[in-house]
């Protein structure tokens, strides 16, 4: 399997080097990406939960979202 690469450009010489990531760098990158995916999943779940709670509250109050906005204005 091809390893992920990084590009390094020496501005003095103009030489561009394409360097394979080390195993440690790949592991670090994978871990950071997993953390970010987990965080996004949590944020999405919270947004969905908030929307459900908001809709339930509107039903309980017997008003629409626009009417709720009017009340809070």
């Amino acid at each position: 399997m091809t390893k992920m690469k990084r590009i390094e450009i020496n501005c003095e010489t103009g030489v561009e080097s394409i360097i394979e990531l080390t195993d440690a760098e790949v592991a670090e990158m994978t871990y950071a990406a997993e953390l970010a995916a987990e965080k996004k999943a949590e944020e999405d779940a919270k947004a969905a939960s908030d929307a459900t709670a908001k809709a339930a509250l509107l039903v309980k109050l017997g008003i629409t979202a626009d009417e709720a906005k009017l009340l809070l204005a």
């Binding site: 091809t2 690469k5 990084r6 590009i7 450009i9 501005c11 394409i18 760098e25 990158m29």
Partner: protein, 172 residues
């Protein structure tokens, strides 16, 4: 006012994409630097941010930003970061074959004060949600900037054809 604007170096990601672009041995002969990015990451969202590291230093970064997603505008920030957050670019759920456009302006990069960076970026997405943001970032480090690394904000791969162009600006 700048009266010279020169390309220092540039690079484009090949097949398979790259984890990062790093510009090293940046000459100190300019007044300011401008970094222009055209990037799409493999993150499964319409937008992504970047992590920028100056001189390989992994502390002392902070930012404030204002941003909008097509429906809502907001602002926030962060301090004590290990990298500088800038944005926005396109994620891999953005319209196919589109790339985010980002410009970083780095004034007085060779001086001995803290380094400020102004960033203007858009995610580019032909849909309801498309992010645009203005970032004001600071590196609480005083050394002249000789290297800049750009990587995906969530360690995502920067996809093929993503590019980075570094320009030097002189005021004389």
């Amino acid at each position: 006012m700048a009266n010279t604007f020169e390309l220092i170096s540039s690079s484009t990601a090949g097949a398979g994409g790259v984890a990062s672009f790093t510009f090293t041995s940046i000459p100190s002969t300019y007044t300011d630097l401008v970094l222009k990015l055209s990037v799409r990451s493999n993150r499964a969202t319409t937008q992504d941010t970047f992590k920028v590291t100056l001189n390989s230093i992994t502390s002392g970064y902070s930012f404030k930003r204002v941003y909008g997603d097509g429906a809502t505008a907001a602002s926030d920030g962060s301090t004590g970061d290990a990298t500088m957050t800038v944005g926005y670019s396109a994620g891999n759920s953005a319209t196919a074959s589109t790339f985010g456009n980002v410009e970083l302006y780095i004034p007085n990069y060779a001086g001995s004060n803290y380094k400020s960076v102004s960033t203007d970026g858009v995610g580019e997405n032909n849909g309801t949600t498309a992010y645009a943001g203005l970032f004001a970032s600071l590196s609480a480090n005083t050394a002249a900037i000789t290297s800049i690394t750009i990587e995906g904000g969530t360690s995502a791969t920067l996809l093929q054809y993503s590019s980075a162009y570094l320009y030097g600006v002189k005021n004389s």
